[in-house]
């Protein structure tokens, strides 16, 4: 209602104490195609859905290598994401030049957050319209952070952003407790499962998604299409129907996996894949950027 009066520029507060331009920027993140991140003690997996504007074009690059130990997946204005990735790469290179050691992930995300905050407090700028899932490794272990256009950042065990990310988040909320001790393969499997949730029935193939991994002893790299397709086939999750049959997977996927002590609780309740409306971070009421 009154939104339109106070949303002209980013340096105008609304009477309710909100900066609408920043919230609109976060809206842009929600419109982008989904990106998912999960982490264990030793690995971080980033996954994203590839959306092409037409069959003739190639898909947008959404996952960027920032350094051997850090990678980022973006959702929203991909051009902003590209620019921020370049900034992150430069920071890593400069840090290494000075200290001859890897830039800790936590430091990088703070710099990124501060950079985003500047754009929320200058009348001649606009906020970056991109959300970044920063996954990386440093001396204190594996980390996954989410950087918001508002300048906020949070650390996560697992998270999803972009359109239809709620479906993925629901899946991740169920399974996240098992991620800490998950093996690399299971982590990737869970990423693919979560990704499939966002496709809402579309077939999951390697041409629709991109997966990247970073871990102890493993530099950040994007898995090539054949590997991803093999993994999909192995886990047999390229289901056409709505993802209800997921609990049946443990039988078929038993081929290459260790006995499933890492499946949370073992006995998964069937078909809980629809919107759970559990304690989803309260989007209603509180200004989104305060979360």
């Amino acid at each position: 209602m009154f939104r339109n009066q106070y949303d002209t520029d980013v340096t105008t507060w609304s009477p309710a104490g909100r900066l609408f331009q920043v919230e609109y920027a976060m809206e842009a993140v929600k419109q982008g195609s989904a990106a998912i991140g999960l982490r264990s003690k030793s690995h971080v997996v980033l996954a994203c859905v590839n959306k092409t504007s037409s069959e003739l074009s190639s898909h947008q690059k959404k996952i960027f290598k920032v350094d051997d130990h850090i990678g980022v997946a973006i959702a929203g204005l991909t051009a902003d994401g590209r620019v921020l990735s370049r900034y992150m790469r430069n920071e890593c290179i400069n840090y290494f030049y000075t200290y001859e050691s890897q830039l800790p992930v936590g430091r990088l995300v703070v710099q990124l957050a501060d950079k985003a905050q500047v754009c929320t407090q200058r009348s001649w700028k606009r906020p970056y319209g991109v959300g970044l899932l920063v996954g990386g490794l440093d001396e204190s272990g594996a980390h996954l952070y989410y950087n918001c256009p508002s300048g906020n950042y949070f650390e996560y065990q697992a998270f999803a952003i972009g359109s239809r990310s709620q479906a993925a988040k629901t899946y991740l909320e169920r399974k996240f407790e098992s991620f800490v001790d998950s093996s690399r393969e299971n982590l990737i499997k869970d990423a693919l499962f979560a990704l499939r949730e966002t496709l809402q029935g579309e077939k999951l193939t390697s041409s629709v998604c991109t997966i990247a991994v970073v871990g102890i002893g493993e530099a950040f790299h994007i898995l090539d299409q054949e590997t991803v397709q093999e993994l999909i086939n192995e886990f047999e999750i390229a289901g056409e129907e709505a993802p209800v049959a997921e609990p049946a997977a443990p039988d078929q996927a038993g081929v290459a996996e260790p006995a499933a002590p890492d499946q949370a609780g073992g006995a998964e309740p069937a078909a809980a894949a629809d919107d759970d409306n559990q304690a989803a971070p309260g989007d209603q009421g509180a200004a989104p950027m305060d979360m």
Binding site: K65, R86, R89, N90, I93, N94, F96, Y97
Partner: protein, 204 residues
């Protein structure tokens, strides 16, 4: 009134000799591991050789602090190149980068004498500054070794023969040059990759 002279120099010469040879299908880059200052030996075990890219290896003698700074700058630029182009820098590209980086400091130079060896589209090359040579040496034993290596131009050598020649050259240079000795580090770059070898030299 005589011109005022500086009572301090930003530079020091840490000595050492570097050699690079390009053969038909290999490239040999070698350098001694002695680091000196004046009549003193600072250490007997300092590597002057660095692998800048998949197929580019650089050896540098001169002022090692400047050498190290130069190596770091090139390494950082190479990282940037990889992010932008999704591939490693080729040897000629690296040579051009080296040339530009050195010229950037034309009026306060890097006191570094470099040989860059590598494979260019699978054909080995040794590159020094802006020209391409089949062999080159820098610093301490420049003159002494050059005449030995001129032999290369007459009879093409196999990889093993080239390594042998390098070892002989260094053994000989060590005899007469006080700044060369201790240990020889040899790096061989060929189609199957990179390998390192060491040989002891006289310690005096």
């Amino acid at each position: 009134m005589t011109k005022q002279q500086a009572n301090w120099s930003p530079y020091d010469n840490n000595g050492g000799t570097c050699v690079a040879i390009a053969g038909a299908d290999y490239c040999v880059i070698a350098a001694d591991t002695r680091m000196s200052s004046g009549y003193n030996i600072l250490t007997r075990d300092y590597s002057k050789i660095i692998q800048l890219a998949d197929k580019s290896v650089m050896a540098s003698s001169g002022f090692q602090a400047d050498v190290r700074a130069l190596q770091k700058v090139l390494a950082s630029r190479h990282l940037l190149y990889q992010h932008q182009h999704n591939k490693q820098m080729s040897c000629p590209a690296m040579a051009q980068l080296l040339s530009n980086t050195l010229y950037y400091k034309r009026f306060f130079p890097y006191y570094a004498f470099n040989v860059l060896g590598g494979l260019d589209n699978e054909a080995p090359k040794v590159l020094v500054l802006h020209s391409s040579h089949p062999f080159w040496t820098t610093n301490s034993s420049l003159q002494a070794l050059s005449c030995y290596l001129r032999r290369m131009q007459v009879t093409p050598l196999s990889e093993a023969e080239a390594i042998d020649l390098v070892k002989t050259c260094f053994a000989s240079a060590t005899e007469r040059d006080i700044y060369t000795g201790d240990k020889l580090e040899i790096v061989v770059l060929n189609a199957s990759g990179l390998r390192s070898d060491y040989m002891e030299l006289r310690k005096d």
